[in-house]
């Protein structure tokens, strides 16, 4: 298998709560649209943070396109949309895009062209002057726009459609579809199972820091049932406590 992400024996424990991830093995194929599901506190965001080098795992390894995730260069060609995006309040959308474009090595007219394209797609060309004046939905759209700079080969999205109106959700779906068509890999953390069924081809279900199951969505969900039923069954069998 040609893997975009390989995780082996990943352990991350938070000192205060004792929660986190306890021994995770995972392979995400190149070009897959992969959903990570689980109840609140399952460890999904912790996994994403370890993947992006934002948290230091206690044990185990993660490789992104064959390179250890601890190396900053592994994040070249990686876009990230966090669950609660925050930008410097006093910057404009264009300045935020310039900052992120600069960090991935874009500059000059090539960067300005990309910024125009991404801001137009996010409907932010006529946005207020400062990010602090943005609505939640606009901040989310800006988060997606910056993540798509440089056409990433791996896009990691944590609840990307939360706070978005139906039009915004459709825009996200269309941009995800365009990226998948271009051969990119997408990792999606979401509670919206209908959206996952619609968008993703692979899925993994987590609870209490452990993977309960993973595989192609059509193999994991038997005919005549749906993802929600499979998800609830798995989590209840594992003994979910909120």
């Amino acid at each position: 298998m040609d893997a975009a992400v390989v995780v082996r024996g990943l352990v991350k424990k938070y000192r205060k709560s004792g929660r986190g991830i306890s021994g995770m093995d995972l392979d995400i194929e190149r070009g897959a649209t992969f959903a990570l599901l689980g109840p609140n506190g399952a460890g999904k965001t912790t996994f994403v943070k370890c993947l992006l080098g934002l948290l230091r795992p206690n044990a185990g390894t993660i490789a992104i396109f064959g390179e250890p995730a601890a190396n900053p260069s592994s994040r070249e060609g990686v876009g990230f949309v966090p669950e609660t995006p925050r930008f410097a309040d006093f910057l404009s959308a264009r300045e935020v895009m310039r900052l992120h474009g600069g960090l991935i090595g874009l500059s000059g007219p090539a960067l300005e062209d990309q910024i125009d394209m991404r801001l137009e797609a996010a409907d932010l060309l006529d946005a207020p002057k400062r990010v602090k004046q943005f609505s939640k939905g606009m901040v989310r759209r800006l988060a997606l726009a910056q993540a798509l700079l440089g056409s990433p080969r791996l896009l990691v999205m944590d609840e990307p459609t939360a706070d978005l109106d139906p039009i915004g959700r459709r825009t996200v779906r269309n941009q995800m579809a365009a990226l998948t068509e271009a051969g990119a890999t997408i990792i999606l953390n979401s509670h919206q199972l209908s959206e996952v069924e619609r968008l993703c081809d692979h899925v993994a279900i987590m609870n209490r820091g452990k993977l309960l199951g993973q595989g192609p969505i059509d193999e994991l969900v038997p005919e005549g049932t749906d993802l929600e039923t499979v998800f609830v069954d798995m989590v209840e069998k594992a003994g979910h406590s909120p």
């Binding site: 948290l55 925050r86 006093f90 910057l91 900052l99 600069g102 960090l103 991935i104 910056q146």
Partner: protein
């Protein structure tokens, strides 16, 4: 290097937008306008300063460094703690850059603002001097250059403290306290080095001497103090008599602050 410059550029833009720089520039302009007014009204100026020191020198040694110090703290107190705690740094750190590059970019922005403000202060004070006595004072350039360097040390301390303390105001308070302790500690250490204080107190003062910043002595201050025959008022220059030694101490202290910041930021979870 590109990543550091990109972070620094965005941070300087942020400082401008927060109107911090504008605020301090307005104060500088008001002070300059006040000094020019005093220059025109010779009798008022004579009441406020001695005949020899001059208005530009008096302001450069008195009020303005305090304003500059406040600006140094203001542009550094948000460098690490706040962006890490509110998630602003998360998106940036998901890009291909190291933690130390992020910290260095933020700190470089503080340095740029400090040197810019000190350069403006020097120009304005030379203007006052020109208006007042009809000539420039080379000591003023040296004074503002050493002030900029000393305030860079303060910015480095504030950045380190902001990596340990998330609340910016608390970080600002602690940093300024540490910075302003250096003069007091130097005076106390002079007593230890003269064997007038020993034992546990001496050991504590010695430890504090090594922990507090060693700032450069302004050539303007040195000149004024020497002309007044009060060199003992500068314990820092007595304890480290050579200029090269003081520069070495100051550079080493700042380097240690920056390295400690890198170590703390490297271990910080997002």
């Amino acid at each position: 290097m590109t990543a550091v410059l990109t972070i620094a550029r965005a941070s300087v833009t942020e400082h401008f937008r927060r109107k911090l720089i504008l605020f301090f520039l307005v104060i500088l302009l008001l002070v300059t306008a006040g000094l020019l007014y005093l220059t025109v009204n010779d009798s008022l100026a004579a009441d406020l300063t001695t005949a020899t020191i001059g208005l530009a020198t008096a302001a450069s040694l008195g009020l303005l460094p305090l304003i500059a110090a406040l600006s140094a703290v203001a542009v550094s107190m948000n460098n690490i703690g706040r962006p890490f705690s509110d998630g602003e740094a998360m998106l940036i750190m998901s890009r291909p850059l190291t933690r130390w590059q992020y910290a260095l970019g933020r700190l470089s922005a503080s340095f740029a603002v400090i040197f810019g403000l000190c350069a403006v202060s020097a120009l304005l004070m030379q203007g006052v001097r020109l208006f007042d006595v009809g000539g420039l004072d080379s000591g003023l350039w040296g004074h503002w250059a050493t002030t900029a360097f000393n305030l860079s040390i303060l910015a480095a301390i504030t950045t380190l403290v902001s990596s340990l303390v998330n609340a910016p105001v608390l970080a600002a308070f602690i940093s300024y306290f540490i910075y302003s302790l250096s003069g007091v500690v130097a005076t106390l250490y002079l007593l230890v080095s003269n064997s007038r204080v020993g034992g546990m107190a001496g050991a504590l003062i010695t430890a504090a001497w090594y922990l507090t910043p060693k700032t450069l002595v302004s050539p303007l201050l040195m000149r004024e103090v020497e002309s007044a025959g009060a060199a003992a008022a500068l314990p820092g220059s007595i304890l480290i008599p050579s200029t090269a030694g003081r520069v070495l101490w100051a550079v080493a202290y700042m380097a240690i602050m920056i390295l400690l910041t890198f170590l703390v930021v490297e271990r910080k979870d997002l």
